[in-house]
Subunit: 224 residues, 4 copies
DNA sequence: TATGAATGAGACTTCATTCAT
DNA sequence: TATGAATGAAGTCTCATTCAT
């Protein structure tokens, strides 16, 4: 059985590399752009980090700028699809939904390499205004909409006091984004002892938000 | 009587310009570094924005990098001196102190051009780790210490429930910093209608924090 | 009988292609070198025009430069062999011989793709001085010698007035070469209506030369 | 008298260089583009020949291509202005006018460095079709028009036989252009002894043309 | 034999820095 | 002190050439 002639459809090595190259380059480029910024990153560094030579990069991306755009597009979206679905079908209390939404935000986005894009777009928005607008539409606005939805549900169900949805959404997202920025900027310069555990911070943030949204006539809760 | 206050002789224009030069250059450099980043800003642009020629810049700063360092040093510190003093002498409720601290943070720092430094340091921390550490020590840590002090006072006076001071300080600062980052990055790309009023957001943030810190046995407040 | 002449088996297509490859590549290279020059032509373009891949070209020619040399060698010589023979055996008037020589020059060389070599060598002589000398020896000098021979015959037979053979040969060749240069350079940029018919121009040129060579005591001719 | 304070209006050295730079660069670029072609010429060579560094060239021309365009524009036109004027006012025989026109063509254009442009445009026409058209309009067509005018005058005055003006103009210009091409291509590769004196060739060419245009009923001339 | 992905030397271009004026 | 022309190191990008498949 399993004779040697079974082709098993494994493409030859060269070919397999070819398929992987753009992804490897995008990954390397994301990391370096996030770390040093677009202008301060040399294409040769990106290529080296992806394990190829300078010329190879230009086989897949016609210019440094197009590489940048591809990095942005590649790491955009996809993030919130399930987030939005889950919120719609959630059956528990809105307080728990807030907690869950924030934990997920961190585990599925904020703690991943893709989150570097957020820091990157903040840094480069003036140099790439088109991409900044694209990022706003594709990432920021959906994310805010998700948060507004969560709070809106709580208000409708009379779990939360009425508040300005847009502003509260910003306040919910801000510390999460801030943690991401921090992770990719000051954190590497900070002595380890001084960094709080991200998950603990996320949980506290959720708790603060839940308390901030609680109706004034709510019964005293059993604090977690 | 008070002859000191008599501006006896205004220095001749040329002289005044000479004295003012470094300041104008630092101002121009701050704005451009914040907008485009260090690497993407050309010294010629800085000089032009300051109204001098390229060569003149090098009369005052030996290199682009030194100019950057001067920009950081110039816009560091000084911010919180009075903040710290005020907290120490504050006599009202801790809730009001939280509100006041945040409003001040915005009016005296977050809304000023100097706040751009915060965005700048996030962007450039990997390229200037020494400055990043310096910025952390001189700006971030004092700022967090201030917030910790405010919350600590509230806990001691039994106005606030006990919480992790370091983490709460981060949550208090995060949305403020986020507003600053936003102001210097995405805001210029955002249609005007979609931007909330900063002061309203600061007030809501203070309110959410106050509620989040309120003791569980506190009497139902008269919401503002 | 003479089985050798029987084309017994046409070589299989693959084989025929293999044999034809170098020729197709040389043809493609000639056209592109003539059109754009050596440096501005990419080997990949040559390969593509010949219907093969970049790598295949290097199977037949070790470098771009060698390809160029092969193009020059391939399109050199051969041109004038019969021309020289015909002149030697010509029995008509020298005026007709001039006319015939020029018509042939055009039909058998100037109007063919190989004539592009003339434009090419003019363009590239400084970059390939060896080839320039080779081209001069193999193409230009024989061509001039042919023209000198024609005129010399006319003078010896007292049909033409005595003239400087070398200079007249140049004058005879110049407009022909010029037409070739034109054909491969400005002609593609010229609106069609403005281009005279090449053969008419050749005929007029021959006529002008014949008249220019006519002895002063010649009887008035019947103009063509 | 002549006090030291007389400004004499000599600009400082630096300034004078600045005025001269573009001209020096254009001259160097013309020579090198003519010799080696556009693609094979390195901007650094151009700069070096003009006695400046690479960077300086880009102070005056934004790209290699723009340098090329400037070279073409700079060496275009201006050539025939007086030629056209002189023909209009000429009072001698048309034969002498032909001779004069051709001698001038050589002394005032063909023998000058600017004539290299002719070889250059032939070489690069396919790579710069816009410039090729421009060159045709600004140089070639006026030149042909000039020659047509000369012949037309001769025909009207019954000094020349009727001929196709456009074609004859081409035949008149061709050997001149050919000499130019030769001068900038094969000539540097040719042993000195083999090169005829340009002026002698121009004179013989003029003579051949005059004879070619002579009316069949013209009296036998005293050949020069 | 034929392919085309990969390489890296070398070209064009930018821009921080110098220096004669 | 101020200027801006000049420099050249360093970056982006191209393309002839190689080589695993």
């Amino acid at each position: 059985m399993s004779p040697a002639s079974v082709p098993t459809d494994t493409p030859p090595k060269r070919e397999r590399r070819k398929q992987a190259r753009p992804g490897e380059l995008l990954e390397a480029a994301l990391a370096l752009f996030v770390e040093k910024g677009f202008a301060a990153t040399r294409v040769e560094e990106v290529a080296a980090r992806a394990g190829v030579s300078k010329g190879t990069l230009f086989l897949y991306f016609p210019s440094k700028e197009e590489l940048f755009k591809a990095v942005v597009r590649e790491n955009t979206g996809r993030v919130l699809a399930e987030g939005l679905r889950d919120v719609a079908g959630y059956t528990g209390s809105s307080a728990d939904l807030v907690r869950e939404a924030m934990r997920r935000w961190w585990t599925q986005y904020g703690g991943t390499p893709a989150a570097g894009l957020t820091k990157l777009m903040v840094s480069e928005s003036a140099n790439f205004p088109d991409l900044a607008r694209y990022f706003q539409q594709e990432v920021i606005q959906p994310c805010h909409a998700l948060m507004r939805g969560v709070v809106s549900r709580g208000i409708e169900r009379q779990e939360f006091r009425p508040v300005d949805l847009a502003m509260v959404a910003q306040l919910m997202v801000a510390p999460l984004v801030q943690m991401v920025s921090w992770r990719f900027s000051m954190a590497p310069c900070t002595p380890d002892g001084q960094m709080p555990d991200p998950m603990a911070l996320v949980n506290l943030h959720a708790e603060m938000i839940v308390r901030g949204l609680r109706r004034d006539d709510a019964p005293s809760p059993a604090a977690p």
